[in-house]
Subunit: 325 residues, 2 copies
Amino acid sequence: MAEEMMNNKQIILKHYVEGYPKESDMEFKNSIIKLNVQQGSNVVVLKNIYLSCDPYMRNRMSKLEGSYIQSFTPGYPITGYGVSKVLKYGDSNFQEGDLVWGMNGWEEYSIVTTTQRMPGVTAYAGFYEVCSPKKGETVFVSAASGAVGQLVGQFAKMLGCYVVGSAGKKQKVDMLKTKFGFDEAFNYKEEQDLDAALKRYFPDGIDIYFENVGGKMLDAVLVNMKLHGRIAVCGMISQYNLDKTEGVHNLFCLIAKRIRMEGFLVFDYYHLYPKYLEMIIPQIKAGNIVYVEDIAEGFESAPSALVGLFSGLNVGKQVVMISCE
Amino acid sequence: MAEEMMNNKQIILKHYVEGYPKESDMEFKNSIIKLNVQQGSNVVVLKNIYLSCDPYMRNRMSKLEGSYIQSFTPGYPITGYGVSKVLKYGDSNFQEGDLVWGMNGWEEYSIVTTTQRMPGVTAYAGFYEVCSPKKGETVFVSAASGAVGQLVGQFAKMLGCYVVGSAGKKQKVDMLKTKFGFDEAFNYKEEQDLDAALKRYFPDGIDIYFENVGGKMLDAVLVNMKLHGRIAVCGMISQYNLDKTEGVHNLFCLIAKRIRMEGFLVFDYYHLYPKYLEMIIPQIKAGNIVYVEDIAEGFESAPSALVGLFSGLNVGKQVVMISCE
């Protein structure tokens, strides 16, 4: 069988990253990929269409030991979630032209043997499974215009909760109220005193905090939680680029207010994916759930899109469209 | 009816306390108490026999706002749990000489209208209800020789867990192994590196942490927790006397390891008291559960006994015997 070869541009992590990631921590590389696939194998060749930029990827840029996830390997392509089109397939479950998604390399073409799942489920599992929400409760979401936050806020509104979100840019704050239907929203960068800001929006306290940022915001939230409140810890993006994380000082509130604070990862909730789709698809079709994506165009824009995530440049879920097909 | 009067020595909080409490923050006062009780009322006159010294009392010495518990009132007696004997009763549920316990003033005689519940249940509810323990799991208890810790360790052993405790004095550490049957114990004051100490005793990590101390120990525990570990937050005694609490830096572990960290107070579990007694009494009689009390003698010793708690002078549950009757 003649070997079919293709040029395959890749984005390589040059070295482990300290502090905020920079575009220069990555480099482009031209490689060659063989497209031959043995029929009956479970190998599929994909043309990648969208790359997803997500905060957890920052952790993978550091040298991690015993973490829940592996570090990227310097000298090799970054990997992440993405949407792809099937080019060649050894597995008869696939056909040419099928759209699939999963964890792939940041490259034009990928050869994979399995497929995996994507975000959305994070918001679904985190809110419904970890927060134990009830109608009428008060909900605070930080990084609320992000990929997960925007969905959590809408789920909470659908359930009849009072929902407030924080973000770091006027455009995002406006969007929370006008686009996603949050009851209130504020720009945390404009607040001298986060405690006072939370007291303004939650005079009687917070039942549920969906935590995406960590640090000072968490400290301010702790003193504003209600008795028997719940904190779902989804992310701590404000801490990922610090050499030494900020200390959290108000954990005694966990006792005084009998708060449950629980970390979670979407990996543990993949079994809910069919249930999630069953719920979300009709809601999206009916226009009850909306989403905002920030689409960077072209493979070359991927490093800057990823780096921008950590200074909040993205408005909504950051993706990179690397192919129109 | 002739009024019956008695001298009633009391221990008064002089002022709100900052930093470590001192004996001089309290003072003795001679007052007079009227012993008359109207038959058919729900009033009971008690002669106090034991006073209980507990870490949560430190919080009540500060000026608290919106806390789970009220501050003591400067100029009035300190209050706390205690065991008392009924002297006079308006309520026919009581007889002279009955031993009762509940929340009373630190004074020789108290006039009360209700009775409440005592510690022990804290260990019971915290371990069985909050920790979700399973046979064979690894359990770490800080302040392990204290009133709550010594029981938690024994409950965990009864269930077939591997149990390690920490304490701050050789005598206490020895007692954990020889008296309470902990598998291992260590003196946290002799460890340069708490992380290394925990790795020595938990090479495969900790399933359950029963948190009594907070601060640096919590930070070291977080990095040594296993996936899906549970932290029951019962107290943070290392932080109670600090003007500014230590920051906790490793909360990202909650996400990476999907840890549930839950604060609790015994108030929420009083309904379990009958179930607790049903379990604990036969175990104590059979010698399966033991306890160590540190009994200070005489009303005059109460302030020093309370103050000593915060530098770990007590060995076991600290009580003050103020009467032999």
